[in-house]
Amino acid sequence: MADDEPQQLPDGMEQVPAGDEPVEYDTEVVVVGLGAGGGMALHQLAEAGVDVIGVEMGGYYGPEEMTLAEEQMMPRLFAEGGARATADMAINIMQGKGVGGSTVHNTNLCKRLPQPILDRWENNGVEGLGDQLQDDFAAVEQMLNVHPIPDDRINANNQMLLRGIAELGYQGGGLSYNRRLCRASGFCELGCPNDGKENATRALILPALDEGAQVLVRVRIDEILHEEGRAVGVAGVALDAETGRARREVVIRAESVVLAASATGSASLALKSGLPDPHGLVGRRLHIHPGAFVMGIFDEEIEGWLGVPQSAECTEFLEYGEDADQRVWMVTGFTHPGTSAGLMPGFGPAHGAMMRLYPNVAAIITMLHDETSGAVRPGEGERLHIHYSLQQDDYAQMALGMREAARILFAAGAREVMLPLSPPRLVSSMSEAASLSVGDLGPLNPPMIAVHPMSTMWMGEDPESSVVDSYGGYHHLDGLFVADGSLFPSSIGGPPQIPIYTMGRRVARRVVDRLG
């Protein structure tokens, strides 16, 4: 638990030692990035007896290393130390880094892809979205112990949401999660100290090591190697654990490459590597589910930091079709003091007075099933350029979401609601909140956070209008597969991890078939 102890890695996981000479590996398949998609691909490949190496840019942290200290865990577990943002810095993009990727600090909500999304994808030329996919969902849910969240695990913050929507007659209710040993500590987004999550690390990557997979930690892949129309491996650098600086070159030769560095990382790597992309599609169509925190102040204590952080949703304003009029998904949100203080308005004594209300605050995140398309471009090292400016009809959805979040909070008994505008607007009645309109919104207004990047290397059978085929195979390079959130042809309007795990499983099956 001491912060400076040398790290013990599980058998099969290694950190490349410093050195002047490049270190080389040979394998059948290399998986780049070990989050939801990569963790699943590694597991399935190892289980199928394939010689596989997984490469992860971040470190490995076991439950005993989850110190719960925000200032330590944010930089350890989040890409760019938690400072990743869109190029205009208006939207924070929170993504995981390290063995398990974003599943280490996610909040474990689980849902399958809704049928209207599958229909939309099918209309866009994706194949194989029928029974086989549902069987894959079922298999994944079993592997990860997905089950409905028991009533006694619904904390006061989530009860507030359920109370509010019941009062208003809105659609919504309890959700499912993938946990087993959870002790309801409330620290999910800083890494679980109880090994309570059935995340990619626990459910897939550690078991894959037992099946013979090898994992390299703190290796950042900077190039996909390709020769004569075929991927032949990857190259990158081993990183120093202390400084994060490059300390040795690493080359991994492989018959197939599985790209699973997330919707931002994979597209950026593909672009950096100069892969054939005759229609200039890679990195475009980025969706992120941008969200804003609407806070309610209650007379009673909510203590939202205690217990399972998220367990309920409101779907009253969530439609999925291509011409959907309402595209807002609402769940609760809560953060620990360091992060919360950044979200509370103002500074100095006024901010102090708001912080005093911290135990009495309940919060709803109003998240957009976004139609806005952004783009990812490579940056230096782990940094990326993310261009994403919300289009006007998505601002209208955000205004709708903020108004309705306020209505739910008031219906649940909030005495005041803080609309996160610039400057923030503290309202004490719904009629005041109802005056919020799209004209009040603009860049950084509200400040937004996004935790679901997707869609930068989307599936489809037509090589002119999609990046990979329906099973993740890159259209213009043999031996290269994509197995992460990049694959989604559209935003999905819900929690992406189960769909990504499921795609990882389906892509791995295709890789095994292709290896013969």
Binding site: M1, M66, A83, G186, G338, S422
Partner: protein, 192 residues
């Protein structure tokens, strides 16, 4: 020297910001550091003078006038801020330090009086920060948001600040003993 700098940056505040954006945040901060005769932003070790700007900003941002909320100096806030920043990529650290440099000279362009941020009195410093927080120019607002997030993370991640808001790791039944013991050790004063 400073007047040369101002000549170079001359124009309306909008134009100054546009020039900074075009010239690049880090390049602009290097130039300013040079003119001031101070070491430029450095990702390996934050120069002392930039640390002083950060501390000055922290003192105002976290000045709570509330007995239960300790002074940032007394609770290791700066150290925690630096731990948080050390985990960011070097370029991000450079950009954050560059923001501090621009905060230091921003009163010359945006007021309320011509002077370095660290040399203004508390009230004037608040005016500068408020100006950044509520600016109609998005880059200034995003700059403030970045400074505030980092400073707040440093201050409010310190256990000394938690009694004021009723937050506790020790009273959380879901936190296992090794983590609770770890926090007990962290909370003991360094000298005792």
């Amino acid at each position: 020297m400073l007047s040369n700098l101002l000549q170079r940056f001359a124009g309306t505040p909008d134009e100054v910001l546009r020039k900074i954006q075009m010239g690049g945040l880090v390049r602009s901060a290097r130039l300013v550091s040079n003119v001031l005769g101070n070491p430029p932003p450095d990702a390996d070790e934050m120069p002392e003078w930039i640390e002083e700007i950060l501390m000055a900003a922290t003192r105002r941002i976290c000045r709570y006038d509330d007995e239960a909320m300790p002074d940032p100096e007394d609770c290791g806030s700066l150290e925690a801020t630096k731990t948080f920043m050390d985990g960011m990529p070097p370029q991000t650290q450079l950009e954050f330090q560059s923001l501090m440099v621009l905060l230091e000279v921003s009163p010359y362009v945006f007021g309320p009086v011509a002077g370095r941020f660290t040399q203004l009195d508390g009230k004037q410093q608040d005016q500068v920060l408020k100006g950044w927080e509520t600016a109609s120019l998005v880059p200034k607002r995003t700059g403030f948001r970045a400074i505030k997030s980092v400073v707040m993370m440093g201050y409010w991640s310190r256990p000394e600040t938690w009694p004021a808001i009723g937050y506790s790791i020790h009273d959380n039944p879901g936190v296992p003993s090794p983590q609770k013991n770890h926090w007990k050790q962290r909370e003991e004063p360094a000298d005792g």
